[in-house]
């Protein structure tokens, strides 16, 4: 009964009467030829049935709110509840995206402030908030690189350089922008192979896409040298902000020499991951890329430029008896930025996510930004040190961890057949979500572990205990570990069958 699909709970003719208009549907205004003949096979359930079904389904999930979730490269830190409740105030929810600026000053003020905050945090000259996820931010970034070269009449740049440890989105994005991506190898210490880079750059180089710290969990120490090499060749530097949490308030991409950056606000600015999104992939640019930013952007109304207040904390806006101010903020669009790469969404991107990021940024404030990186790094290095002490092999034992680090089970695999998947599945039984496994691709049997700054020491210690216990279990009974998990709603699933015998939708019995 607990495993039925919502469709199987329904009955013909049942419905949630209070939640739908009371007047029966009238199809007559639709020409016969364009009319639907058979109703779509949607569930027919009561409100209680829907509530019960989806409440119980929710309980089958691990989540930050219920479990430690050290998924590497995903920054699964606490999502403050105030960010949600404030972004869902009725006035924010009811604002139509095409409402006039006179009806939107509160929202626009938040967006303007957020742009300013992100500029400061990244050291960039301009920020556009519209990209709807990290990958779209990457797209916007590479599109700006392309637009920059083309605007200068430089048509020969056809390649994007990508380190082999990069996120898959990097080469995929390069392809979408019509570039060929060329891999740059990583050396044994986890840094970019500088000689290989030198050999690869040239007049065909449009740019390089880098994460720093990299997906290997270490800081690229020669970043200034890399920047010089690429810039000298006429290429631009793209910063993949997936790992921004590691350096927030410590070092700024703009200062490292990057020309463009995307930020995953759902990571560093703690907006919810939502079971797979929405994200928000704001982009920041150096001065030379300002004309190419995607629109819309929030600017100040020209005639009131001097009266605006950056942080928006005028008496008016905080007083419960405030009155409406005259418009201070307005949209900047294609007319303002004629060289813009254009629009990436019909409206303003994931506005509600941006509001949440804004609330989070205000809660951290100037005082809190650098602590994010400090404690994320403290937690990662602590876990790394404890696991090393327990005999686990680190992928880069000589290095500081950034906000994440890699354990490799290559030795365990060889000795006792214990794989990264086995550990991941068994961890679930211990009440922990698994780290990222098998990424980055170049480290065998790897666990990419990112504890984030919001977890306490007690939790980290219990996680170490669990990994030690699992290794011990595997030594004594590898078959048992390979049978894990045992306490989840299902045991280990057959992924091969899922792909071979494709069953990706329910169909009504006919």
């Amino acid at each position: 009964n607990n495993d039925l699909l919502i469709f199987e709970r329904g009955s013909k003719g049942r419905g949630a009467e209070a939640q739908r208009p009371s007047t029966p549907a009238d199809f007559t205004a639709v020409p016969e030829a364009l009319r639907r003949k058979r109703a779509p096979a949607l569930p027919e359930v009561s409100e209680l049935q829907a509530v019960r079904h989806y409440t119980r389904l929710s309980q089958k999930n691990f989540s930050i709110d219920t479990h430690f979730y050290p998924l590497g490269s995903c920054t699964m830190k606490y999502n403050p509840r105030a960010c949600n409740t404030l972004a869902m105030l009725p006035e924010f929810l009811q604002r139509h995206p095409l409402s006039p600026a006179s009806h939107s000053q509160g929202f626009l003020a938040c967006m303007y402030d957020l742009q300013e905050i992100l500029k400061d945090v990244t050291g960039m000259a301009g920020v556009s908030l519209t990209p709807m996820a990290g990958a779209q931010g990457e797209f916007a970034g590479v599109a700006m690189i392309r637009a920059y070269h083309l605007a200068r009449g430089d048509h020969g740049r056809t390649e994007i350089l990508v380190p082999d440890a990069a996120h898959g989105t990097n080469p995929a994005t390069a392809t979408m922008m019509g570039y060929v991506s060329r891999e740059i190898p990583t050396n044994a210490e986890g840094d970019v192979d500088i000689e290989a880079l030198k050999a690869a750059v040239g007049p065909q180089t449009a740019g390089i896409m880098l994460t720093n710290p990299s997906t290997l969990g270490v800081f690229e120490r020669r970043i200034k040298q890399i920047a010089a090499i690429v810039h000298e060749a006429g290429g631009l530097l793209y910063y993949d902000g997936a790992n921004l949490n590691a350096i927030l308030g410590q070092v700024r991409p703009g200062d490292m020499g990057f020309d463009v950056i995307h930020m995953n606000l759902h990571k560093t600015f703690s907006t919810p991951h939502g079971g797979g999104g929405p994200g928000a992939g704001a982009v920041g640019v150096s001065k030379r890329l300002l004309p190419f930013m995607p629109v819309p952007i929030v600017g100040k109304a020209d005639d009131r430029r001097e009266t605006a207040d950056v942080s928006g904390e005028t008496k008016d806006s905080t007083s419960p008896v405030s009155r409406l101010p005259s418009p201070v903020f307005r949209w900047l669009d294609e007319k303002d930025l004629p060289q813009s790469i254009g629009r990436l969404s019909a409206f303003m991107g994931n506005a509600g996510v941006l509001l949440r990021a804004y609330v989070y940024a205000r809660l951290l404030g100037r005082e809190g930004m650098h602590r994010v990186a400090e404690f994320a790094t403290l937690n990662a290095n602590y876990l790394q040190a404890r696991l090393k002490d327990k005999g686990f092999d680190l992928a880069f034992p000589g290095r500081r961890a950034s906000h994440e680090f890699i354990v490799t089970l290559k030795r365990q695999k060889q000795q006792i057949e214990l794989t990264a998947t086995d550990v991941a599945k068994r961890l679930l039984d211990y009440g922990f979500h698994a780290p990222t496994v098998y990424f980055p691709l170049l480290v065998p049997e790897c666990l990419l572990i990112e504890p984030t700054e919001t977890e306490d020491k007690q939790t980290l210690d219990l996680f170490v205990d669990a990994l030690v216990a699992i290794w011990d279990e595997a030594k004594h009974d590898i078959a048992y570990v390979k049978g894990a998990p045992y306490t989840m709603p299902v045991r280990r699933l057959d992924d091969v069958r899922a792909a071979r015998q494709l069953d990706i939708r329910w169909r009504p019995a006919s």
Binding site: A25, I64, R95, A109, I504
Partner: protein, 453 residues
């Protein structure tokens, strides 16, 4: 320290285990000259209490109005249960279900979502969402290019498509040398069928059909689909999902049905919320499943033979295929899909049909009321859905401004800059949320504004 649980004792112990003297030591691999000092422009921190007051004030500055704007984002009633459940921590704070066994809640829900979207669109397969309708269209066009054996990298796009969708499509596919050709509309506001006939067979890859189109007019989807098919092209439908409760699903368009269907899922439970987060949906015929971008969930069995759900066909995706992936998409709009799935469950087909029907009727009634005002007329006479283009006797912008300012009425979308050929045209929309009194209120206000000066 907000959101950081470490006590002084914890910090000391942990630094000790690491063998680091201070926090600074943790960053000793970063060249010292790169370290930044205090951030200068980030405002000082506020407590939650202070932020609450700030944001209530900001919300208050976003004046509420009586909204008659549609143009791609529709004000529908969302049952209270939808977001009460969607924002439960287990959905809200989980991520992409990489560990299927610990994510059966999200996975089963996505499977149900895929089932609902294929049912609604009349297609075989659905992914687990795209960012929004406009970017989903761009992905659909790219998907058609990948799927079409002898693609000419040319797509026919009607002028009746949402102008912002056209801009997004251009921004996304521009770098891939795909030619976008605009098809004109006829005097009824429908895509000119004859324009397609002028193309040679095999000369374009796909035809985009928007149903209803941006003017709210219903296209002759059967004829358009058959015309494209006759030229050997694929058909991409861009649809309003609520309209599909009343309208023939794209899977039944023409002799063969559309090949790929996309659109914005916002009308299925996402609040207007300044334009997002919404979600894009993408469904297709079975043959194209391996060219689909994005996540797909499949049903399989566990070690004991018990059914369960997991991400599948991951070989299409960027984290496996990298530069050869179907798209760079990674994170999608999972939380919105959660809301949409609950929304569709609560409304059901009958509920959606009533919403669609009431929205259609209200828009017809509103248009009827407005043309009672001297000088106001309908732009097109064709049957429509949900929106209608109205011509005013004066420039639109100042009229809208006057309506908003004095009456708090958001009167619609000004068509005159994107479609100068229509004159002083205004696109209006009245969903099921509007009462007869609202419609009369608008009529009276518009009459008053037009009477002035």
């Amino acid at each position: 320290m907000p959101f950081i649980p470490h006590t002084e004792t914890d910090i000391d112990e942990m630094l000790g285990v690491i063998g680091a003297k201070s926090f600074d030591a943790l960053f000793d691999e970063i060249p010292a000259e790169l370290r930044c000092g205090a951030l200068q422009h980030v405002p000082h921190r506020l407590t939650e209490m202070e932020v609450v007051r700030l944001m209530h004030g900001r919300a208050h500055q976003d004046r509420r109005g009586l909204n008659f704007i549609g143009a791609g984002a529709y004000e529908h009633h969302i049952p209270a249960a939808v977001w009460e459940i969607t924002t439960r921590g287990e959905y809200y704070s989980a991520y992409t279900p990489y560990q299927a066994e610990a994510s059966q809640g999200t996975l089963q829900l996505l499977y149900e979502y895929q089932s609902m979207m294929t049912a609604l669109t009349g297609m075989d397969v659905s992914n687990a969402s795209m960012y929004d309708g406009a970017s989903a269209l761009a992905e659909a066009v790219l998907m058609a290019e990948r799927s079409h054996k002898a693609g000419k990298r040319k797509v026919l796009v009607p002028r009746t498509l949402h102008p912002l969708y056209r801009k997004v499509l251009f921004a996304i596919v521009d770098a891939q040398q795909i030619e976008i050709v605009e098809l004109p509309h006829d005097a009824h506001g429908r895509t000119d069928l004859k324009a397609i006939e002028n193309f040679e067979a095999g000369s374009f890859t796909s035809l985009v059909i928007a149903q209803p189109n941006f003017f709210g007019v219903l296209e002759d989807v059967d004829a358009l689909t058959d015309a494209a098919r006759a030229k050997g092209a694929m058909v991409i439908g861009v649809v309003n999902p609520v309209s599909l409760a009343l309208l023939k699903p794209p899977g039944e368009w023409g002799a063969t049905g559309a090949d790929i269907v996309c659109g914005d899922g916002q009308p299925l439970g996402a609040p207007l919320a300044s334009g997002g987060p919404y979600f894009g949906f993408l469904t297709a015929k079975q043959a194209f499943v391996r060219q689909m971008p994005g996540r797909i969930v499949g049903r399989t069995v566990d070690l004991d033979g018990k059914p369960g759900y997991t991400l599948t066909l991951q070989a299409r995706e960027q984290h496996i295929r990298r530069s050869k992936a179907t798209s760079n998409i990674c994170t999608n709009q999972g939380l919105l899909v959660t809301a949409a799935t609950i929304h569709m469950s609560i409304l059901g087909a009958e509920g959606l049909a009533r919403v669609a029907s009431a929205s259609l009727q209200h828009t017809i009634e509103l248009a009827q009321l407005l043309i009672e005002i001297p000088g106001v007329r309908k732009v097109f006479d064709a049957p429509g859905f949900h929106e209608a283009a109205i011509a005013l006797p004066k420039p639109v912008a100042p009229v809208l401004e006057a309506l908003a300012g004095e009456q708090g009425i958001l009167g619609g979308f000004d068509l005159s800059s994107d479609f100068p050929e229509l004159g002083n045209a205004l696109l209006i929309c009245a969903t099921e949320t509007k009462t007869p009194a609202d419609l009369r209120h608008y009529r009276d206000a518009l009459a008053a504004v037009l009477a002035k000066a």
